[in-house]
Symmetry: C2
Subunit: 213 residues, 2 copies
Amino acid sequence: MFAGIAAGEMERLLPCLGARERSYEKGEMIFQAEAPSTYVGIVLSGAVDVVQEDFWGNRGILARLTPGDLFGEAFSCAQVEKLPVGVTAAEDVAILLVDYRRIATTCTSACGFHARLIHNMLRILAEKNIALTQKIEHVTRRTTREKLLSYLSAQARRARSSAFTIPFDRQALAEYLAVDRSAMSAELGRMRREGLLSVEKNRFTLHEKARDF
Amino acid sequence: MFAGIAAGEMERLLPCLGARERSYEKGEMIFQAEAPSTYVGIVLSGAVDVVQEDFWGNRGILARLTPGDLFGEAFSCAQVEKLPVGVTAAEDVAILLVDYRRIATTCTSACGFHARLIHNMLRILAEKNIALTQKIEHVTRRTTREKLLSYLSAQARRARSSAFTIPFDRQALAEYLAVDRSAMSAELGRMRREGLLSVEKNRFTLHEKARDF
DNA sequence: GAAAGGATGTTGTTTTTACAACAAATAATC
DNA sequence: GATTATTTGTTGTAAAAACAACATCCTTTC
């Protein structure tokens, strides 16, 4: 978010933004669901959970955020009046809070960083957008095999190579694709046996196959 | 995207942005996958398909866009060098193309709309972000029932009421939740019989239930 | 290098889903 | 208002996934 801004310049920028560093103890509420918020939060240390309750009051954790992660930025940029989610401290945590309105409105003083911040924000949102869209492409496939092929195809494209390593272990990949780990493991085994791919730890190689000609 | 800008002002704005209106015949390629693009496209009439090929060359349609829809904005904002998708004309179509760089860089002339455009873009990306995140929450549930409950809960929250109408017919809802229509229909029937909810066409009412006390 | 812990692969069972074919209800068209 | 589509609900069957329990491999730790 502060990409392209020198560390020395942060001293001037942060007060201009009205940025506040705050600490919360494990279990404390940071953003209350249904409350309004115009803030962007940045996790400095510790971890926070984004939580939501369904209609029947069952609490669910949507995400666990760790240092460097942002939260609230989409709701602030979209000017959502009431937060549909809450944010709580999963552990003792330090947060940097910035009022989005201070980012969006160019300040009167000579602080010239707002344009930069806004472009960083655009980029962050756009990249998240792309990542979310990709995940949806994978996750909406009906079978585990299709999900795997969709994901692995995307990775091969990214790597511009049929051989590539993935940043997940099996458990994390299964969670990402929203499937059962052991079932996924079994499916990978079948695909390997069918000659579709080969696997070695986190390194995958997709094999060309004679198709319907 | 042009929200907050009067129709009369568009005449000055569009040339300043270097906006070009173009027509394509059905089947024509608008954006080529793997090619670079800094453009944002807006569908004026007709329809376009966002398409992608997997590693084995199977072509898939990621989305069909209709008048008013934007495409390419995320890749432009994120400054992606090579498009991972292609865009083709699903029918004869008219498109407005705007170079994102002309939006992002405040122009030298007295045209004062860039700030407005950028904030509109931020909002568009943020709203899309929220919508995508919500969809992922629903779609990553393991069973059809959980997907339905997640989606219906979110709708009830939106409506701030346990009774609400949804903007989908059954087929569209099934596609959105990535499940089989008839299986979903059956599941809705079971849930209705269990007293979880009542349905009348597109109007749903969720029922409070005594839970585990 | 032995022991412990974690990650990964395997298998069998139960549950759930997709699929297909059809019935019923609703909407559209003439 | 009768006929034709379209949408929605139902049922049975085959396929797939989740789940659970365990074996194997790999890494870490002492």
